[in-house]
């Protein structure tokens, strides 16, 4: 885990006092709401339908037990006893008072956390692979590279008023668990032919109202130029990205409109110029950071077998536990999607319990996934049964990872001022409809994602089944799409046809799953069958 030194701590402390001053000026009235808005957004503070919402950064989704425990304490002290983990590997609190926010940020700073740039038209929290440092298929731990970019992007003076928000993901494995190509910049670290680590830059992906898969812009950029190349990519965007229409302001529109080749050549020219300015941190800085991400002291004699005699435990094991690169250990995903629950929500007590379990069983480390679940990355196989019993007793043992009830949903109209429709009650209804474990297992991997408006925070474009809430003449209406995916086989879903009411969409989803069960061939997932047979049979079943 990264540890702050005095410099990092000073910067975060400076931010807390700057924001304390800004909040005081806002409350005193010397800052207008208009002037205050971008300042509060750069500290993750939104004004939502009912209250302020605070989004706290969890850089590359990694945090310690002490940090997790504080997140639970904040939920109790300043919110209504729960927090909501997001698709950007962050946590947000929905019932915050403006006057409390400087104190919350000061509490966070004590455990090396912050809310810097978790909103606003700036470079957002850098996301990464939730299995980083533990996955068998990674070539290197991507998080030190993400940390290098976190520092570079923090308070970057040139890029604080970009045309629009900017999201970067860094991964280092062939399997993409971070939806890398759906980011403004997705960086994949790989070995080149000579065995050196290089960075592939995919630029101009995104969801929202114009979903796009990022093209490869920088092919095999030398790792000791990663920051400089990122700076070049951003500068071209800051200068030439559209500012006349906020819906066309993301970098994906620029890359699309001028073309990937034209964008690439502009970036290359800027890159050549910037290389003369010595902007790149030295290799020693990367090495300093990497030294904090060395693998934990694994017990090399830990037994590699697990007693599966408890059938409920075996189901959880099969669904929520992944192979670890270290024999005798496993990756555990804790589902925050109990049947009928609010996707991504956890109570203060549950958050603190997960903190305790991380300290006891996972070398004091947790991860937040973009699917709104929590990972304990380094659990001894011998501890799995005891761990599962604790989770099960506290509402955290749902064995549904990547099944139809492991739903991604945005906060929707229950909280969000942008939303057109509610997401949470719909997620709850779908979850209840498919509650039967045997039925879920039969349907297999099925990623269902719900967004309450076209901004697509619920990633509906990338759902095997996607649901988009729209406002149709003042009534909530839900559009269904099929065939989206993220990861190695990234694709965008296609809309089935006319939308549905809240109950109608649940029926339509059920019909789609029935088509799959009839049409599937050996070993096919829902999305595979859809890709093979196409939309027609689904459409026929749904609309008859």
């Amino acid at each position: 885990m990264y540890k702050y030194d005095n410099y990092d701590q000073q910067m975060v402390d400076a931010r807390v006092s700057e924001f304390r001053d800004q909040v005081a000026r806002r409350i005193a009235g010397t800052l207008t709401e208009d002037q205050f808005k971008p300042l509060r957004l750069k500290n993750g503070l939104y004004l939502q339908l009912h209250a302020y919402m605070l989004r706290v950064a969890i850089p590359y989704g990694t945090l310690s037990g002490a940090q997790m425990r504080l997140l639970g304490d904040i939920a109790d002290k300043y919110d209504r006893g729960y927090g909501h983990f997001t698709t950007r590997q962050n946590i947000q609190y929905n019932w915050i008072k403006l006057a409390d926010t400087p104190d919350i940020l000061a509490d966070l700073a004590k455990v090396e956390m912050h809310a810097i740039q978790t909103s606003g038209n700036c470079i957002r929290n850098i996301s990464s692979d939730q299995f980083a440092g533990a996955a068998a298929d990674e070539i290197v731990d991507p998080r030190p590279y993400a940390e290098l970019l976190r520092q570079w992007s923090s308070f970057h003076p040139e890029f604080d008023y970009l045309p629009r928000k900017f999201k970067i993901a860094v991964i280092a494995s062939e399997t993409d668990r971070a939806a890398m190509k759906l980011h403004d910049i997705g960086i994949r670290l790989r070995h080149d032919d000579a065995g050196a680590i290089v960075a592939d830059f995919y630029v101009g992906g995104g969801m929202g109202r114009t979903p796009m898969i990022a093209p490869l812009i920088g092919d095999g950029i030398a790792i000791d130029h990663m920051v400089t190349y990122t700076e070049a990519a951003l500068r071209v965007y800051n200068r030439h990205g559209r500012r006349d229409n906020k819906y066309k302001a993301r970098i994906k529109i620029l890359v699309h409109e001028i073309g990937a080749d034209s964008y690439r050549s502009q970036v290359e020219a800027e890159f050549a110029h910037l290389q003369t300015l010595e902007l790149e941190p030295p290799a020693a800085e990367l090495a300093r950071i990497q030294a904090m991400f060395v693998p934990p002291a694994f017990d090399t004699t830990a037994p590699d077998s697990v007693d599966r005699s408890d059938p409920d435990f075996a189901v959880w094991l099969d669904n929520n536990v992944h192979a670890h690169k270290q024999p005798g250990y496993a990756l555990v995903t804790i589902s925050l999607k109990p049947i009928g629950g609010i996707p991504g929500d956890a109570s203060a007590d549950q958050i603190r319990l997960m903190a305790d379990l991380a300290q006891k069983h996972s070398f004091d480390e947790l991860r937040v996934t973009h699917a709104q679940n929590i990972v304990l990355p380094h659990v001894k196989k011998a501890d799995l049964y005891a761990l599962w019993q604790m989770l099960e007793a506290n509402g955290l043992g749902t064995p549904n990872l990547d099944l139809i009830t492991d739903i991604i949903a945005c906060p929707g109209l229950d909280y969000c001022s942008l939303a057109n429709a509610r997401s949470i009650p719909l997620a709850q209804k779908i979850s209840q409809r498919f509650a039967d474990q045997g039925r879920q297992q039969d349907l297999g991997e099925l990623k269902l994602k719900i967004s309450g408006c076209i901004n697509a925070c619920g990633h509906h474009h990338a759902g095997h089944i996607g649901v988009l809430g729209v406002d149709r003449k003042g009534v909530e209406n839900y559009q269904l799409s099929l065939g989206g995916s993220e990861g190695a086989d990234t694709s965008l879903g296609q809309i089935t046809g006319p939308g549905f009411s809240e109950d109608g969409i649940v029926d339509a989803i059920e019909k789609a799953t029935e088509v799959y069960l009839v049409k599937r061939e050996n070993g096919e997932r829902f999305v595979d069958t859809y890709r093979r047979v196409g939309m027609a049979p689904f459409k026929e079943a749904i609309y008859g």
Partner: protein, 145 residues
Amino acid sequence: MVDVLRYRTDEMVGDPGVTVDSFVDPVFGQTNASAVRLEPGDDARALLPYLDRLALVEVNFPAYGDGRGYSSARILREAGYTGELRAVGDVLIDQLSHMHRCGFDAFAPEHAITREAADKAIATWPEVYQRTVDGRQPIWALRHG
């Protein structure tokens, strides 16, 4: 008349800046002008051949949220421009420190900012994470001296 907060010691240029288009026009160009005004959509690099004869570049911020002027400023400084670089328009106190880091050394805000408040704002950051054009050593350089 808007007060100009200057962070340089030479004499202030009183001339109003001409537009980039009129400055660089090959026929009717006013390339003898010593002050130019850059709008957000102007290409700062159009001025690079003429930097040695410019004493003032005004960079206009019609709205504080349009951040193109930050890149314009850095580009000019990176190319060696040493004259006055003045941010004009919707320049607010909370943007001063970043503007200063991008090379601005004068500010002409629409709504007056006191010298004391500006000094404090520019000193917001004890250290910095990036190398820009303000001469400050980034934290990574301090760490590895």
